[in-house]
């Protein structure tokens, strides 16, 4: 299986979804929705884990999924920021990946809709036990502030992770996606195992609170090559890992390394010296000179001596990209927000 693109898309969808449901809690928002737009407002009791509150928020999300998302004066600034960011990403991201973001009118993209439906269905079934409701130590480490996110913001963050996976895997498309994997063909935008028997166990392991499980990966190879089939099976893969590793999709850490899992298995943290080396070259975009023999950037030779290797490049990028989520309290997110503001100013 390839590794990283998956996460990115999912997050996007989730963010949008979350924002809209929150908007409905305000009478003014309802008015806006009746007028054709869904504004976004943050919840009044974001950290509530009461089943009734969770279900109410989830139902609100589901109800506004087909409405355009808008930000009105007086709305929660954080939620407005998310909407602006999602629209911006739709503009400046790869065209294939636009389905993970909000279009110019604020409509949720088709990939995000699928993911939002999957997550809200999971929450309705599992309520406060849903993995998408809970705080998460790993996410908190990557994205300080995650534990303070509202339910909807958390869902958006999960969606972001999916999108981040779908992009590097096959540029968010199922077309021409079947490639030879390690011991089976990998297919679809998430590069899941093509043969059904090589992936059906993921669904069985993604348990609900009542012990039942979904069957999203128990589909034919043909179905896997549809947007819904691929994203739904990817959802079960994601949930399988979260079920195994106490809510953490990246796997278990032992001796400072992550235990292999699936997509997220390759996302071991880099040794600090190697990370600094990657930071220096990749972030500075100074990897222009390439080795004529290998075609790989010359700087990799230097980073390799510090413990990095070619395969770690996507790992590095993945973890950095996660932190772009605008609500994370990270320097990378702050830079992202600054860029977004420049973009918005340029449009005025």
């Amino acid at each position: 299986m390839k590794k990283l693109k998956f996460l990115y898309s999912f997050l996007l969808a989730t963010v949008v979804y979350t924002s809209s449901s929150l908007a409905q809690q305000d009478p003014n928002l309802n008015k806006q929705i009746q007028q054709g737009g869904a504004a976004i407002q943050d919840c009044k009791d974001c950290k509530s884990n009461k089943s009734s509150d969770i279900l109410a928020q989830t139902n609100e999300l589901a109800a506004v999924l087909n409405k355009p998302f808008e930000c009105a004066p007086g709305d929660d600034p954080q939620s407005c920021l998310l909407i602006d960011w999602l629209k911006w990403k739709h503009q400046n991201y790869n065209k294939n990946c636009q389905g993970f973001f909000l279009d110019g009118k604020g409509q949720v993209g088709p990939f995000s809709k699928v993911l939002a439906e999957l997550m809200t269905t999971d929450i309705k079934k599992n309520k406060e036990k849903s993995l998408f409701v809970n705080d998460n130590e790993q996410f908190q480490k990557l994205c300080p502030g995650f534990d303070k996110f509202s339910l909807n913001q958390k869902l958006a963050f999960h969606g972001w992770i999916f999108e981040l996976t779908a992009f590097p895997e096959n540029v968010c498309t199922n077309a021409n996606s079947i490639v030879k994997g390690v011991n089976s063909s990998a297919a679809c935008m998430l590069q899941l195992n093509y043969p059904t028997n090589m992936r059906s166990f993921y669904s069985s392991g993604a348990k609900n609170a009542d012990g039942t499980s979904e069957k999203h990966c128990q589909i034919s190879p043909k179905e896997l090559l549809t947007d819904r089939g691929c994203l739904s099976c990817g959802f079960d893969v994601y949930k399988w890992h979260m079920t195994k590793y106490d809510g953490n999709p990246f796997g278990e850490i032992a001796n400072g390394k992550k235990i292999n899992g699936s997509y997220w298995a390759s996302q071991n943290p880099l040794p600090s010296a190697a990370e600094s080396c990657f930071e220096k070259y990749l972030d500075a975009k100074s990897d222009v000179k390439k080795d004529p023999k290998t075609g790989k950037p010359l700087f990799l030779t230097q980073c390799k001596s510090l413990g990095a290797n070619w395969e770690w490049t996507p790992r590095y990028k993945f973890f950095k990209r996660i932190q772009r989520f605008p609500l994370c309290n990270t320097e990378i997110a702050k830079r992202e927000v600054t860029e977004l503001k420049k973009y918005l100013d340029s449009k005025k």
Binding site: M1, I178, G181, V182, N183, S184, S185, N193, Y194, P195, T196, N197, M198, S200, F201, S204, G205, S220, P221, E252, A254, N255, K257, K258, I259, N260, G261, S262, Y263, A265, S266, N268, N309, E311
Partner: protein, 162 residues
């Protein structure tokens, strides 16, 4: 006992071992392989190895789903339906893989032959062997005309190492 009941009983008793064999479960396989699930560390071979063989920790686990047993090693190596002596599945568009699994002397051997409709090239074959002995799993994958694309050992981690 009338004749009909007796006949049914004889048939059932005669075929029971076959049914039992066909339905080999996870417990049987673990016992036959002398294998314990858990965390292993990949020992990098001296020869050139695939990226999977990097020095890293992997989990080895046997999963059972509706009678099908799947061995999962780390992120990428998935051996499905190893409880069945022979099975076949759609492995690519217009391609079908026939898989033969054998468990003997702590060793799991999986032979896969892929045939693609309309393709001029000959069927491709892959043979995977995993030898479990003394908390060490030696894995070798031989594919087509190439002798080896990945050959390495994975050693079980002691609990104190975790």
């Amino acid at each position: 006992m009338n004749k009909t009941i007796f006949s049914i009983l004889v048939i059932f008793i005669a075929f029971a071992p076959l049914f039992a064999n066909a339905q080999k479960d996870k417990k049987d396989i673990l016992k036959q392989l002398g294998f314990t699930e858990g965390q292993y560390v990949v020992i990098v071979p001296s020869s050139k190895a695939a990226s999977f063989c990097e020095d890293e920790i992997v989990s080895l686990e046997m999963l059972e789903d509706k009678g099908d047993v799947t061995l999962v090693i780390g992120a990428n190596l998935i051996f499905s339906q190893i409880n069945k002596a022979t099975t076949s599945y759609e492995s690519n568009v217009n391609c079908k893989t026939t898989q033969v699994s054998q468990i003997e002397n702590n060793k799991l051997t999986i032979t896969q032959v892929e045939k693609c409709a309309g393709a001029k090239k000959k069927p491709t074959s892959k043979k995977t062997q995993i030898d479990f002995k003394n908390d060490l799993a030696e894995l070798s994958i031989k594919e087509g005309p190439h002798i080896t694309n990945c050959q390495y050992k994975i050693a079980k981690l002691n609990s104190k190492d975790k």
